[in-house]
């Protein structure tokens, strides 16, 4: 099994710690940085996609019904989606609550 990026020994990385595989940042689970997580009241969602556009991490994913879900493995909990949401259907709740 190939080692994850954070399991390799110092001599197992690429020359100069460069990145030769596109999209490899997805391996890094930034979700554990979060202290608050977004939550949607889907009754108020108008499927406008503003949250999808403003998320700096690409951690908002289109659901089958046209609303949006959160990729909580990568969502850092910045709250931009909640601030920008037109209808106020996204709110931030404390992790652990």
């Amino acid at each position: 099994m190939t080692k994850k990026f954070n399991e390799k020994a110092w001599h197992e990385y690429e020359l100069g710690f460069m990145v030769s595989q596109p999209g490899c940042a997805t391996e890094y689970r930034t979700g554990d940085w979060r202290s608050q997580r977004p939550q949607t009241n889907k009754d108020k969602c108008i499927k406008c996609g503003v949250c999808y556009l403003v998320c700096p991490e690409g951690a908002i994913v289109l659901a089958a019904d046209g609303t949006y879900d959160f990729d909580l493995e990568h969502c850092k909990g910045c709250g931009i989606c909640a601030t920008e949401c037109w209808t106020g259907c996204i709110s931030m709740v404390e992790e652990g609550e």
Partner: protein
Amino acid sequence: MAKRVGIEVSLAISEAVKLANVDAIAAYPITPQTHIVEHLSELVADGELDAAFIPVESEHSAMSVCAGTSAAGARTYTATSSQGLALMNEILFIIPALRLPVVMTIANRALSGPISIWNDHSDIMSVRDTGWIAIFAENGQEAFDLTLMSFKIAEDHRVLLPISVNLDGFTLSHVIEPHEFLDQAEVDKFLPEYKPVVQLNPDAPVSMGTVGIPEIFSEAKKCQDEVLKGSEAVIKEVFAEFGEMFGRDYKVVETYRAEGAETLLMTMGSVSETAMEAIDQMCDKDNRKVGLIRLRLWRPFPAEALRAAMGGIKTLAVIDRAVSFGGTAGPVAGEVRSALYSTDQAPYVASFIAGLGGRDITIDDFIAVVDQAEKMAAEKEIHQYKMIGVRE
């Protein structure tokens, strides 16, 4: 075959860079490095050297351009001095981290202030921990030879690190000396074309210089350190190969009349030649058991070679040409003390600072240093460092 040419050392370095057939040069002129890049720009303008000469608005840009051209797979050269090196500082750290084999000449000059255009080693000492290989030349021939060897060392796939070739500003850079030049065919045989392992290329894209999160940063630094330490073996190999091909031998630590010596003087750079005169006087006229040890390789620090050169000496007098303000020793002496501390029969290491900002170190100064060091050793004087030749 090699021909002997009387030429200014700066121009000889430019000719070595031309013989190395570099692809890219990015530099900003600064005294006393100016003649090197001036001559290179002439060589490029006259069509004698097929390279991109990229004039830039600062040394920060010069080193940034070097990062780019080297990453694109070009054999890359630059030169600077003092304040220019200081302005490069930010990028200096990045070049070895990205494993880019840039070669840079540093015409060593004091850092301001007061403003000084004259020679000492405060510039290179201020970038000691940037991760570059640092080599010192004592005369023009060495500067010429080491420039050629540097490309071979830097570009070796076991190394892939940048190198600074240090020579004393004015004292070396501006003097006319006889140099044994090499033919292009000889150089081509010694120094093959640079073959990068990876390069910036749209057909096979890579990202260089990405973020290093805490989970990998220590591994990145460990890797850099191991490669730098490992480069010493390659440096020795290249020195040996050069010696075999061209008959001029180089070592990471050089000694002069050190056999049977009880006291060694230690120097780096062009003062070594004056120091040799002082040693000759002390040995031949006064029958003293004194020798000289010269550090050619500053980074990676050749600790093992240094220990091996100590023999049974009692006193080591280290001359530094820079101050580590408020420190425990001059920059070189501190390394030396540290390298010898845990060894059996470590000599008494006296640390002297001299030759700052163009102040000459004379034969008499060297003799006085040896006298003082021997006295301090006999009295087991506890000291950190002493600045000599200062009016009290």
